[in-house]
Subunit: 350 residues, 2 copies
């Protein structure tokens, strides 16, 4: 017998390319085109290197924690901080979806959900989006082991109304419902007010998109004290010190600069609206996006061809060779200059 | 039915206290008493804040990775980098101990092992150390689902000879054997040369002890290309971007300063040797330690009492109220000044 027989074998998630090459236009992983707040840079300059010899504070004891609690006007025990929202979601899958019944999520959605289900041996069922790429709330009313979806959804950008989310959460109080709000800051309406009424709702946020800090790996979840306690028990059974000292400090500095945060969100929304017009003029169609990206299909030219031709021009967008979405490109909203370069290149292709 | 019935319920690992209070003497979590290398500070000062908007490079593409490969003289695919050695070990439990047969580890050892086994539903069997707190290699020769132990062991500090480790690894080629070398740099002899002969051996290291960077959360594993590939598949099924940009950069800077690294290791070893004499004179006994700590018991005064009295004096050491070790204290080796303060306080207690 070989040790290989005892190995948990999985097909890992494939993240968007992170080319080392300089000078490319990177519209493929929904990063923020603007740098972090100057307050983050100031915090980086004054950070105490000597303190690195010590283990970090637990997130619950950090200033970042207190800041997030007061920012969202929550009770003290209602937040969980992790290494990006991926860490938070991964821990949530491990903690809450332990029933044996299938967890439900859309067929077109964040493609990490089925990977987490596979690695943790969780049964799941994908519910098809309707023909406009919208979630059908009726699909989430039967017996299940938990529910998760992003709002706005990724990679479609479609937004679900909070009333519809409430119907789902209300009808499923025997399971945990997770709303992944990674892209909520680009014009969506958050489900946060529902937390007062439902202790089975977990809302997940990230610093990687609207807060321009993907490289620092910070995400968090907000939910009832009971949910957060269970999540922390599992997290402290996996790794006691997941958050490094610098990220805790820089994240806190970031939260102090609300004006900058609003400014970059508004800039991205304005560029998205302009981009919708440009793309329409070029013959693209797309669902209305509430994210920092547009999920677009061209009437004549196949997505795969556009994807490859753009890459030759050092412009990276995202393409999935998967059912229903293999004629779509997910284009991250960059700066106005980056988008102009994209439109120029597209004119040469379509 | 309540959603709570679907929750994975676990008893988390309890880490040593991280008091916020300034001015205490902290000898309770085996941190390095010296700051990181000045090269780490320099890297911190020149780090590019703007880059934080981008996701990190994957660890395999980082300079830290290349540096570790050449430092250990390994093949390109033989290293895995994680968020401290806890992350590496947690992923290794999830990846390799998937057989249904019990995993073996000592009864007195790093107390996270049984927590990982519990959270991932892995059967395990604890093998009692002998009366001198040494691992009995014969205990690891029967059928099992994998083997893990630290060398030197924690919290005892006892070192196992590489020949004995080889006997265990050789006799268990149908399972993965993990040697946790968190404390190897304080005078121990590494099992690294065995990697050339055995593809079922994984050796785990950390930047938290001898490299004075507990706050940056960096650990790594070295093993055969096959082992590392499986480990990466699981890791990329849990979280694609676990290592933040700053930690990757600062870790690389740390590896450039071999002279400083050796200097602090030697200082800690010298202080440990002096501390052994002082503690002996005070009536303590302990196994010979190869770690940055001493696991000591007093002939007259109970460990718990000493632990509490030291804490009143703002000196924190570690105490476990557990079978076989409830009359022992694990005392981290601090600076000479910190140890002198400890001895002075102990004189008043014993």
């Amino acid at each position: 017998m070989s040790w290989e027989e005892n190995v948990r074998k999985v097909v890992p998630y494939t993240a968007g390319e992170q080319p080392v090459k300089k000078g490319i236009i990177k519209l493929n992983t929904n990063e923020c085109p603007y740098p972090p707040s100057p307050m983050v840079e100031a915090a980086m300059r004054r950070a105490e290197c000597d303190d690195l010899r010590l283990y970090p504070q637990f997130p619950e004891k950090s200033k970042l924690y207190d800041t997030l609690v007061s920012y969202h006007g929550l009770d003290k025990e209602d937040i969980f901080i992790g290494v990006g929202s991926d860490d938070v979601l991964s821990m949530a899958f491990l903690t809450f979806f332990n029933s044996g019944r299938p967890v439900l999520f859309p067929d077109i959605t964040y493609s990490f959900y089925d990977v987490w289900a596979e690695v943790y041996n969780i049964a799941y069922l994908k519910k098809p989006l309707d023909e406009n790429f919208c979630i059908r709330k009726e699909d989430y009313m039967g017996e299940n082991g938990g529910i998760i979806f992003p709002n706005p959804n990724a990679p479609t950008g479609a937004l679900m109304a909070v009333d519809d989310i409430e119907e789902i959460v209300k009808a499923n109080q025997d399971v945990v419902c997770i709303v992944d709000e990674a892209y909520i800051d680009f014009g969506g309406v958050s489900a946060l007010p529902l937390l007062k009424k439902y202790d089975n709702l977990l809302i997940v946020r990230t610093f990687s998109k609207s807060r321009a800090m993907a490289g620092a790996r910070i995400g968090y979840a907000v939910g009832s004290r009971k949910l957060i306690k269970y999540l922390n028990d599992v997290k402290y059974s996996v790794n006691s010190y997941t958050m490094n000292r610098m990220s805790l400090e820089l994240g806190e500095a970031c939260m102090q600069d609300e004006a900058y945060f609003k400014e970059i969100c508004n800039k991205i929304i304005a560029t998205r609206e302009r981009s919708e017009k440009e793309l329409t003029a070029l013959g693209f169609t797309f669902p209305r996006s509430y994210g920092n990206f547009i999920f677009a299909s061209h009437k004549n030219v196949r997505a795969k061809e556009i994807f490859e031709r753009l890459k030759e021009n050092d412009i990276y967008v995202r393409f999935w060779d998967k059912p229903r979405i293999d004629n779509y490109l997910r284009i991250t909203i960059g700066t106005d200059e980056q988008m102009d370069a994209l439109f120029k290149a597209l004119k040469g292709i379509v």
